[in-house]
């Protein structure tokens, strides 16, 4: 199987997010958690989302799933899943979209599984909710899904309960559950972080294969650049609630344009060779109530100039990707 970075063009995007902002009204004022986030995912394409803790990766996924915790709300922008506008839907409408049009895989598989029901009951229910299959048909489909995610002895294990599976097996069940409604899009937030190293690669390879086969778009949120390098077609890098660089995976990882992406790449110890000192981005990501004026990265940026403290860079197209940095947009002075 060939791994093309340019997935087959298709008229319907699995996900189309435009100018998305998310706010949290608090007693001390309104916190802007996401600001003007735009990204697209084609069908069958995997978009990796990376960035430091608190950058807004999970928030983006939760907004798409319609699972923002109150008082958090989408304050502007548009979200389309499989071409359908979803950001204005009611709670009930969104609940039916979850499962049929968009599936979710979280770090802890137990948050997605009900301990009181066998995995078969949960799969069959999801399948029947989104199709008109008979119970018998749905059970056969559930067994087929468990086989696809690599659960040995699926016809027997289907009647087992979540606690009878190991962590890696549970995450496979969650993937099967996410695929059960044949969604156009899957949000996978740190799906392998809680798993052992030798299991992580199994799960990401599985996710990649299944999404190609089913033509499902995936938003893969992870801290692990190695996982991104092996799994994603494109990458979005987030910082302080914004997308600061987005593009094809090999372009962003090997020729990063944004100073933050460059720092992030340099700070990863390589398996291949040992260096004396890792590149280091000094300082830390700003809190939401103290995001610097101009470019949010300017206090940590070695390339910053006076303009960076005044003008907030917009995402501009360059090469096959886009970058939000004044070096690429009129200069820093």
């Amino acid at each position: 199987m060939s791994m093309s970075t340019h997935p087959p063009a298709s008229d319907a995007l699995a996900l189309d997010v435009r100018g998305l902002s998310v706010e949290f009204p608090t007693r001390k004022g309104v916190l802007t958690a996401l600001s003007d986030v735009s990204l697209t995912i084609k069908r069958g394409e995997i978009l990796g989302v990376v960035g430091e803790s608190g950058a807004g990766k999970s928030m983006t996924g939760m907004a798409v799933l319609g699972l923002l915790e109150p008082p958090g709300r989408v304050s502007s922008g548009e979200i389309r899943i499989g071409g359908k506008r979803t950001d204005k839907l009611s709670e009930a409408e969104m609940a039916s979209i979850r499962g049929s049009m968009v599936g979710a895989i979280f770090q802890d598989p137990l948050t997605s599984l009900n301990p009181l029901f066998s995995v078969g009951q949960q799969l069959i229910e999801t399948i029947r909710l989104h199709s008109s299959r008979s119970r018998m048909d749905a059970r056969a489909r559930a067994i087929e899904l468990l086989k696809q995610v690599g659960i040995p002895g699926a016809d027997e294990r289907i009647d087992h309960y979540p606690h009878q599976f190991s962590g890696g097996m549970r995450q496979r069940v969650v993937i099967a559950l996410a695929l059960a409604g044949n969604p156009q899009l899957i949000i996978a937030d740190e799906p392998t972080t809680a798993l052992d190293v030798s299991i992580q690669a199994q799960i990401t390879a599985l996710l990649r294969r299944l999404c190609r086969e089913h033509g499902t778009g995936v938003m893969l949120v992870t801290h692990d650049m190695g996982v991104i390098a092996e799994t994603a077609d494109r990458v979005a890098v987030m910082y302080a609630g914004r997308v600061i660089e987005i593009g094809p995976v090999e372009e962003v990882l090997s020729r990063p344009k944004h100073p933050y992406t460059r720092g992030l790449m340099g700070s990863i110890p390589a398996l291949g060779a040992r260096v004396e000192r890792l590149a280091q981005i000094d300082g830390a990501m700003p809190r939401l109530n103290a995001i610097p004026v101009g470019c949010a990265f300017n206090p940590r940026c070695l390339d910053a100039g006076s303009r960076c403290r005044q003008v907030r860079p917009a995402l501009v197209t360059e090469g096959q990707g886009s970058v939000a940095c004044l070096v690429h947009d009129g200069g820093v002075q």
């Binding site: 791994m3 690599g150 599985l206 990863i268 110890p269 291949g272 000192r277």
Partner: protein, 326 residues
Amino acid sequence: MRSANNALEVDQLSRTFDVSAPWLNRVIDRKPKRYLHAVQDVTFTVEKGKCLALVGESGCGKSTVARLVTGLYAPSEGAILFAPAVKGRGRGRPMEAQMIFQDPHASLNPRWRVGDIIAEPIREFGLRSGAEATEARVAELLRTVGLSPDDGKRYPHEFSGGQRQRISIARALASEPEFLVCDEPTSALDVSVQAQILNLMRRLQDELGLTYLFISHNLAVVRHMADRIAVMYLGRIVEEADTEALFANPQHPYTQLLLQTIPDVAAPNRDRELMGGEPPSPLDPPKGCAFHPRCPMATDQCSKTAPEVRARAGGGTVACHLAPAT
């Protein structure tokens, strides 16, 4: 001690936990007592001023070794021998190891100011005489780990994860140890912050001549930090060698599996095949070689007899029937 160059020698160390059901349930269900062998027959040495890393999947016994070495657990069997300290209050007596944990939040008292957290060992052991000298020492330690003396007045919750890990390092250094046991010190941190902490730890090692026992599941981090690596599987060390030798020529099939499954940013394998097998339960370890159910090279012998630890071609040790003879 076997060599004057060693800071620590660990000999055939084992630790067993009693995980039996309560007595009454056992009697009713007629079940025998159950024991979990968290660490079995582990032998290694750490040279002075060097860094030995323990790697392996979760539950393989890394933290148990760390707790044994720092005296938080008593060994069930075996010996732990530290070289005599050459400086500080315990000069001449065996070195005392200080520990740095994965979660700096849990290991710092939230009600104490950072300055008092760091000063505690200084006061307790009377390492400086008088409040002024203690305060000066705390300021010095804060600067050493890249914080400012003013940070001593603040509380732990006012700091980020990376800064809190710097505070735990400062506290560990306060008692002037020569040996640090670091259990997943950067696993809870972002890669960018991890780089800051790893750089700090390397610098401190050079400046203070520290010896490290470093625990991580991240092989790239281990490669960056360690002079020597011991790979653990289900309570035992299955391969041990110099870092470069281990990476260049892993001989145990489990080490090979680990090295193959780590996604590498510099050389991503985008055609990775699904690999089978999961870690078995430590309560019910497989007979013979514990790795045999997952081992692509396993033979009949592997499911019957456990391989002995023997000398590894190219230095170190390995426990596999098929490892090349030296």
